[in-house]
Symmetry: D2
Subunit: 461 residues, 4 copies
């Protein structure tokens, strides 16, 4: 249609605009090293199977190495007109080594090639994230070790509930990020499968050896169905879902760090390097890093939603929509990696204000009321009755403006004759904490047990 | 903590890493022209109010113009160490004009400054998107005009249901994108409000004139509450929601274009420029553009989810989390703009295969069964009864392997005596289409009415 | 396939299972009164156009009234086998009044009928939500009036930044929910359009009068394109997006209420009725209502996501997928309505602890540092320089362990000779707050201005 | 505040409204049997540890059994005023057995109790879903076996690309749902951990035996940190993410079923029981089940989004927000289970129209062009060159209006001298399919291999 009756704005939509719209080189360039890695293994296989000569293979490998070097040195020129990373590299190879280069794409299609590239990339990144999770868990263990005697209020509903050890609170995060590590490891099972050989969608008639390629690239398995192979992006969805849960955990931690940094809580002092100040109000220190980490839960969740929406209702096998899988995946990898690394380092520079924590744990004097109830239970009072008795006792305390610990035995016995002298140690913060010896509980011996175990798991003992 | 016992990976998290993590200059540089626009108006106000001298104002305006020119010419050097666009420009200004530059930030905070910049940016982009929506609607009207006599099957459940005019189907999209235009226009009401003067959060004690700044920047109103002003990102959420609905509409259209391009439907031929082919199978033409547009619904919806998650549970007023508002917003603006523009142009180059459409509309010969029922209704048969009668008639047709139009009057009257000769024109595709004269229906006169109205609205008549 | 080799689990998937899977009566029963309302208007139109007799119309109206009464009295029996609300009512009508009932569905299809029902329902609910937003805004205005002299710390990054009036903070929410009201009102524009007459998808050949039906049902407009009409669910997406923003606002408020209820902040005391306690720790009062309201942002955002995903990539016109539009819509209506109502009432029963707020506003004594900088600006010191000077002054205060207000004039002048006696009133909390007289600022006169305006808008003056 | 100046609407927000807002019994009643199961194990442990007597234990177990029976028989009266399932059952127990019932809650809190209930519930449902996945995979294997010789076009971009076996296409889904099974199994690892004993948040001071409870309830492990235990909802997020991927797979399948049911494709005939018809157009059969299954991807993704949003930014440990975890979880369980079951059964009743599939596979005659290229590669022509040669050959075919198979050897050799007589078998549909013998490819021997393997995995051989 040569006449465009609706005027000038369309001038911008030319062939170049279409090219720009469909090109992926601006983001898939990051797959370069994996594309080359995959091509190396593919070339080796082609030679082994007699589909190319040993000499052609040699030329291809040399050519690819040269390109890899150029990319590493930032001298490689990416050409948007060649659309994607695969064509950029293949074209450069042909320009370098001639006809042999034209044989590299034998028995391969971009559909299985890109599947291989993403899997190689994501495998490396997943392993790196598992390492970063270990670093972060290590940071928690170090903190817990450093503050292994500090008490603080344990909260439910953000209301002070029962005194706990700070180390116990920190080790809750050790557990959370430990599950993340498990999820990432499980992702690998389905990700770490070699797709090459599916070709466009139906497999290839050429005598390839897929198992050889898998061994070369350290994949324990090859994919089982060629049509599934080129249309499958489960690994991206699963990874992004696992990453979203990591980021949710980071957001919960960050929320606590922001809270604890307030004037009102004053439980921690973040290191200056992780905050911004205001030259006009030097006492003001904004917890920028935790705020940003918390905020970044938005993008990681958004990326997951992008991928799920993308794949909804797509018929088999490859559809161009799938090109949109990479940006949310890459952004998720970057965001989660950065947040894990920076949080671990920030934690290691965080000072806990033990005086404030201790004072808060003891404030009011009623946080050990449950201990009084438990005491009564051990004396045979049914729990619901014990519960009611303690309610009345605390009400009396409030009326008399006394802490629970300040009541005399006589006063206590007015509420329940079962109470004896040996209740008093349990009503102190230290006594309360020490008593919670159920496995996984906050008593110092249980927490030290947990710490020891964690250090063993991390291999830092 | 000087010793980092968990080894080398943290080496990368240095002050530079924190800087990189918190910097926004790599994405907020796109606000440069709006930052300068806002600063110009602010400086003019400061001079008018005697907070700076006329000469200082003159220097500032000249300096900002010079910086604007450098940015336009790509000679301006953005410095990541200065974190964001605001500090990059202010610092450059001070370097250019000295002390006067240090007065620009008088009675202003980055909190209200960034609110102004985003509003200016988003206002311009929203207006552009409204224009692009108009272009797209124009493309539909042109197509509808070009094919104003072509019939096709109307579908429900992707099953052929009743014959309609192709033009009628196309104008359904005219309506959909018309509502989008209305939503974007409504967004402007809440977006087009001037925030400067809120300062950090509490307003300023300096004698500013907010209404003057608003007039300078063509804002009809100023914000009413300083604390709300610096914490408000409603406009971003609302814009992204409206954009998501646009993209959903585009995904529905794209789905149809992909379907219609299949061998099985063969209703349209997309222009080569909007497809990729395969040199090995020249008959194969992949509808890449509609596939990508459909896929990009993922990122637009993901961006909306990012923003909503970001803002969930944030206390007033400004929190650093809010820095994360820009990337989803920018990506949404870019994606929706590109998709609208490229879709409009692609449509204008799309050929509808009228023979296939016409043939499909007539195929089977039962798509006008509803018309027979309606005929009976006009002869006094209760609708549910008429419905049942026609069911039996069509069953008879299938049994006899005849089309409805092939039945004789005698045959028809066997099912309902109310049927007379004048039913036959109604049972043809043309007759059926012509009969649906309810307002908004598919009859040619109604569709031409709609076309005329659309052309008036668009100002192309 | 008569033999089912994979055993017993499928026994459950019988025709009944299919029926259960496809039925909607368990949720669309709530549309009953709107279905009847729509049918009444439709019947009146049919009679007016001569498509049914006056007597038939009379019978239909009487029959529908009787059914409406039964539904109201909970004596109507909904039959799942009849699938949806439309067939349940039509069948009951036919059973009541015979043949005339079989004429009601003349010139109508379930596709346009359900579109009408949802629009009638959602219009009523949207108006109710606008009322509830007004109630909530009224609650803020009442609170602001009650506490119109109380100061508190204004926060950025959850760090105390500058003193503000509590009333100013509360009125920030007045603004936020005011925008929500605007968005809901804008929704109505696109929702309040009459769809009946689109029939299955192509319009009808019978001589209907759509404008008459619109007038009867108080719709200002009729839909323009029949195919668009039956496939359009924009109103649901738009409503749910607007509702999501409301719920985000509620989540921000709830977060603050939870924070303010902590022992650490102690800014408010929620009424007992909105909390749960613990009989064992009577001093513990959990802010359950704000926690639940905050949590419910999840479902409202999830519902929006559901709808967007649902509509992604659906070809025109009606597809059965659309049946899934109702549950997220209904749940959103219910959730947002309940949260708005309960929050408004809870707020009206909330006590602000003015002593704590006032003390917090004055604590530290450096929150007025910006005022000192602004003072210097009025004496001609460039802002950036003033900023630096104040930074040094506050550093000196910290070193000397003094508040800014405790410095003598001589001490102050050491940092800037421009400082004079009249700076002191500005450095007090009251002076600082009073000084921020920019429009929309926190000074008492500005806040009272805003309060008066709000009361006018709400019609409560 | 006794006077409510904003009028009557608040009348509805009474204590009852608060109760209704906070109650969960209307949805958590479904946890009843798991609550009882957990309580049984807890009581046994209390007795074993001497915290209650054997007789008390006996009474409790009898009481719980009686309640379980009442619930099963629908004679148990759930009382909303008792808020949740835990209190409903405990209260009923106390009413039945008196004082012993008041001891059941010893060393337990609702925080760890609800964690136990959900884990027990979700464990059972996850195992059921794994079974349903197996059923669905079995349905694919049966279909593949039934149609093991049928060819059809393989699609990329919804364009016919290369012929494949229908069985190969079906087995792609076998793989997809196999991965889902793996993910669900991995979920179990983190879900199947016993939480009881964490008590409110800090563990308990009473001498419980958590390992005993775990053994009783068949948990291989107990949770490690009490604070993590009561705040952890990872299992819900992880399950919902895995479920979302299942539903995405179902949506892809459903999209294909809808497409294949169109007049244009006509590849399948769904059984009547899974469609709705139209009595007026008996030939019209709407694929309602696949449409609904496709649409339900919206709610499952929305539920995941709800949960992620819910947990974002929540501080440790238990917050009331967490009550909102159940409805999205339950709805996900229900939706995915139903969709899996109904899809499996529907598939087993689906007829593939083998004539249409075969005809479509052969149509045009160019779908085997890649085979010609591969032939040339085996004759030493570089792939890119072979690719270009075939392009020219097909162009010639189109010009001559011939199929590739219709060219004579002489004609073929005009394009490449390397072509010999033995190319012809490869250019037929059967020859092309047979040639793709790479592992995972579509050749009959590979597909039969895959089928055999699948049947072994499923244990149906």
């Amino acid at each position: 249609m040569s006449e465009k009756p609706w005027g000038g704005r369309f001038a911008s939509v030319t062939a170049a605009a279409v090219e720009a719209f469909t090109a992926s080189i601006h983001f898939d360039a990051r797959l370069a090293r994996y594309d080359i890695l995959g091509s190396r293994a593919h070339a080796a296989m082609l030679a082994r199977q007699g589909l190319i000569s040993e000499e052609e293979c040699h030329l291809i490998l040399e050519g690819l190495d040269a390109i890899a070097l150029e990319i590493e040195n930032n001298t490689f020129v990416f050409r948007p007109a060649l659309e994607d990373i695969h064509m950029n590299i293949e074209k450069a190879l042909v320009e370098k080594i001639g006809a042999a280069g034209e044989k590299l794409h034998t028995a391969r299609s971009r559909n299985d090639q890109v599947a291989l590239d993403i899997r190689l990339y994501l495998r490396a990144e997943t392993i790196r994230i598992i390492d970063l999770l270990k670093d972060l868990r290590t940071a928690f263990v170090h903190l817990a070790r450093r503050y292994d005697n500090t008490v603080m209020p344990g909260y439910t509903h953000l209301q002070r509930a029962q005194p706990v050890l700070l180390a116990h609170h920190l080790l809750a995060y050790y557990e959370m990020f430990g599950r993340d590590s498990g999820r990432m490891t499980d992702c690998l099972k389905r990700l770490n499968v070699m797709p090459l050989g599916a070709a466009a969608l139906a497999g290839t008639g050429l005598p390839v050896d897929r198992e050889f390629v898998a061994r070369e690239l350290n994949f324990p398995k090859i994919t089982a169905n060629s049509m599934d192979t080129v249309g499958d992006r489960d690994f991206a969805m699963e990874f992004c879902a696992a990453a979203a849960i990591i980021q949710i955990h980071l957001s919960r931690l960050s929320e606590e760090l922001v809270l604890w940094s307030t004037e009102e809580f004053s439980f921690i002092t973040l290191a200056d390097g992780y905050c911004t100040g205001s030259s006009i109000m030097p006492q003001k220190k904004n917890p920028d890093i935790p705020e940003l980490v918390r905020g970044k839960s938005g993008r990681v969740i958004g990326n997951l939603m992008s991928l799920l929406t993308l794949l909804k209702g797509l018929p088999l096998t490859y559809n161009r929509d799938l090109q949109e899988d990479k940006e949310p995946l890459f952004d998720t990898v970057d965001t989660v990696s950065q947040c894990l690394a920076i949080t671990a380092e920030m934690l290691s520079h965080t000072i806990f204000n033990t005086d404030r924590l201790t004072a808060a744990a003891g404030a009011g004097g009623h946080m050990t009321a449950t201990d009084l109830a438990d005491f009564l239970v051990t004396r045979g009072v049914p729990f619901r009755k014990a519960h009611a008795v303690v309610g009345k006792t605390v009400a009396y305390c409030l009326e008399q403006n006394k802490a629970l610990t300040e009541l005399s035995l006589t006063e206590l016995q007015r509420f329940a004759v079962e109470i004896t002298e040996d209740v008093f140690p349990l009503l102190t913060v230290a006594g309360s904490v020490a008593s919670r010896r159920s496995v996984g509980g906050t008593s110092p011996d249980r927490v030290h047990e947990a710490l020891n175990l964690a250090e063993q798991e991390l291999g830092i003992r």
